[in-house]
Symmetry: C2
Subunit: 429 residues, 2 copies
């Protein structure tokens, strides 16, 4: 009986797994050096947890299931609700700021497309407890720190930044009612992904007044933070958020990542829970979907039954990132291939048990060591050692009667005769 | 709205995550040094894939779900079916032996109990393509290599080993029909977990002939491989498997792990797919469930639509292992706590932007570096640096006008004044 894998999922054969590990290890390394601690939650949660604030698109794409008691569960499509739940559970004992990261496996029942699969990994970092744009700057810096770590440059990547708070103030100033902001964000978030007419049609479905629509369309063509003021008379709230954006860009300059960052009023984010700075990361050619994005979500913990605590963070998926790294030739060149420390060969089958014994001893001492299962002749074993890219090859032969081994350096080809006890004695166990 | 986590799942707060990572990193390290390559599959597969050969217990405990097209899927309860599927897919291009490992996240809809959760991690290693007990020995060695690595000793742990092939030959010799072997294995597998009467009752439900039952009960009291022959007249098949078991123990002796291993005819394994050597790993006090187990499964790849290829492997879960490590005091003592390389402090708020700039530069150069979000006074910042266990604390103060910094070694308490450019210049970027 031959059964295929489910469409939109991936099999990670060893070479694929090496790539996945390299990407995830980079995420972890950069998180730790930026002061984040790792956490994780369960792969499934109660279904209703993902229905609180995840945005319609995600709710539609849930993989739901039932436990044996008939309770509705879902595989997590994002980890932020779990983060909110976990932080709320220990809110009184966790020292702040809470700087956490995670690399969850997530599932969404989407139609599989390039860069968008039903199962993927996402790097999440969050700073909870800091009501200052400095935290947003640190979050964006951490993303850029990783991008630079994997040799992506401002010529490859752009971080587009805006503010939901500013956008809200501007939209309220042109008389959009507060209750209509959320569905309007969803429409505005689609703008860069649609042809102009399709977008305007979608907008007309949300905002019936043509005059207001024209103002919105004009607003969305603003190209700099300075221009925002020219577009409309700014109220206090809008001024505050403009100043905040300016301070963010100053901090990114101080941190040395301003060359990755631009202001883009079109960045709105689809998820319902953002409240302040928002950003998305794109390949500069914008031929791919967003690599990731994030922003401030000061109300979320409260919505999950906790106190009001400011928070900001981002998520970067592995699929689009891997495509970009591959296109730029940056993935395979940075992968190191596995390399056994020793390959243990023998000249005659009588020494086979000795080869097994020595291999086991070397492994116990912490070395990667292999032997040949087929007990082939020596030249075939040496070929195997080369094929496996072993650093050194140990040859057990007639010298063994004098407690000696031949050790061949596979790079230089040099061979030396060593006493077996001296050889093993040099390594602490 | 406050929503609890699902019972039987775990939240991994940073200290829990550090423990999980330490266990899993150990599995990975030992796998690699024993010559295994990492692979992984999707978290869900078609439901029917887990119904082929997983044994009734696992099939009953599946978390099943549907995709949007209505197809039946299930979260993986074990990874062996995925392994069989993946190997079969590339059977002609994979060089043999295939030595693979994986650390899948698995889910089973069980009643949560001590050491048994609905979601857990399992270390799996497999050798495919070797029809020799040497492969079984290598698999058992790798398990022992890990146990020793985390400082568990033969006083803590025992690997109980038997042979399904031998048991089959012995049961056939007392006239158990071949078709009744599989359900009988399930009964025999329960023996050590039940009181004697309960077991005998269960056995009576499977084998109606009292004479045969007595022979089975007597067989299960055999205490050594040598005794097997005294218990019954051995046919050729049984002799072969007895010889194989003897050779296995010789190899384990050569490999230096015989002190962990004993023969135990009661080891049968619940899963239907085992065909030869089987083993289970227990805490010596046997107060806990099995830590793990495995064995030879030569027919499985064929049952998954591939060719007949011999295979052997094991799975070790994280739950029981963590309990044992904790009981023995081996978990927390081996965990290293996170330690930033630098904490960047400042004497006056005017230097705060410089502290941010320097922190960013140090991180970019690969160092873990932190600063104080609260911009507290210097003594509070130094307390923070101590609390975070930072190796060094950099102090930016009035010396900064001369391009100089104070660097304080947090272990010795010594301070030195360094030129900022010389300090940064010493690290390659």
């Amino acid at each position: 009986m031959k059964i295929p894998p489910v469409k939109g999922t991936r099999d990670f054969y060893p070479p694929d797994m090496a790539r996945r590990n390299w990407i995830i290890d980079g995420w972890k390394k950069v998180s730790v050096r930026n002061g984040f601690e790792e956490y994780d939650g369960p792969i499934f949660e109660y279904l209703k947890m993902f229905q609180i604030k995840s945005g319609d698109e995600i709710v539609e794409q849930l993989f739901s299931l039932k436990d044996r008691g008939g309770r509705d569960l879902a595989i997590r499509p994002e980890i932020t609700p779990t983060l909110a739940r976990m932080v709320n559970q220990q809110i009184n004992s966790l020292p702040r700021p809470i700087k956490w990261f995670s690399v969850p496996r997530l599932c969404r029942a989407e139609r599989p497309q390039r860069g968008r699969l039903r199962e993927f990994f996402q790097w999440n970092i969050d700073i909870i407890g800091i009501d200052d744009v400095l935290a947003d700057a640190e979050v964006i810096f951490t993303a850029c720190d990783y991008l630079r770590e994997v040799e992506l440059t401002p010529e490859d990547i752009v971080v587009k930044i805006s503010s939901r708070e500013m956008l809200a103030a501007l939209l309220l100033a042109i008389d959009i009612p507060e209750s209509e902001l959320e569905p309007l964000y969803t429409v505005l978030d689609k703008r860069s992904k649609l042809p102009a007419e399709a977008f305007e049609e979608m907008l007309a479905g949300q905002v019936s007044d043509k005059n207001k629509r024209d103002k919105i369309i004009k607003l969305m063509t603003v190209e700099s933070i300075e221009q925002v003021g020219n577009c409309l008379q700014l109220g206090d709230k809008a001024k505050e958020s403009v100043d905040e954006l300016k301070r963010l860009f100053e901090l990114l300059e101080v941190m040395g990542v301003a060359d990755f960052c631009v202001f883009d009023i079109g960045i709105v984010r689809g998820l319902a829970y953002y409240t302040g700075i928002v950003f998305e990361i794109y390949d500069k050619a914008t031929e791919l979907r967003a690599i990731g994005g994030g922003g401030r979500y000061d109300d979320l913990l409260k919505q999950f039954g906790g106190p009001a605590i400011p928070a900001t963070g981002f998520g970067i998926g592995d699929c689009v990132l891997a495509i970009l790294l591959e296109e730029k030739g940056l993935l395979d060149k940075q992968l190191s291939s596995p390399q056994p420390d020793y390959f243990v060969a023998f000249t005659d089958k009588q020494f086979f048990p000795k080869a097994i014994e020595l291999t086991a001893k070397l492994r116990t001492k912490g070395f990667a060591a292999n032997f040949d299962y087929k007990s082939a002749n020596l030249s075939k074993q040496l070929k195997q050692a080369s094929a496996q890219n072993a650093k050194k090859c140990i040859i057990i032969g007639s010298e063994f009667e004098n407690n000696e081994l031949v050790i061949k350096d596979m790079t230089t080809g040099k061979q030396e005769l060593v006493n077996i006890n001296e050889f093993l004695g040099q390594f602490k166990s």
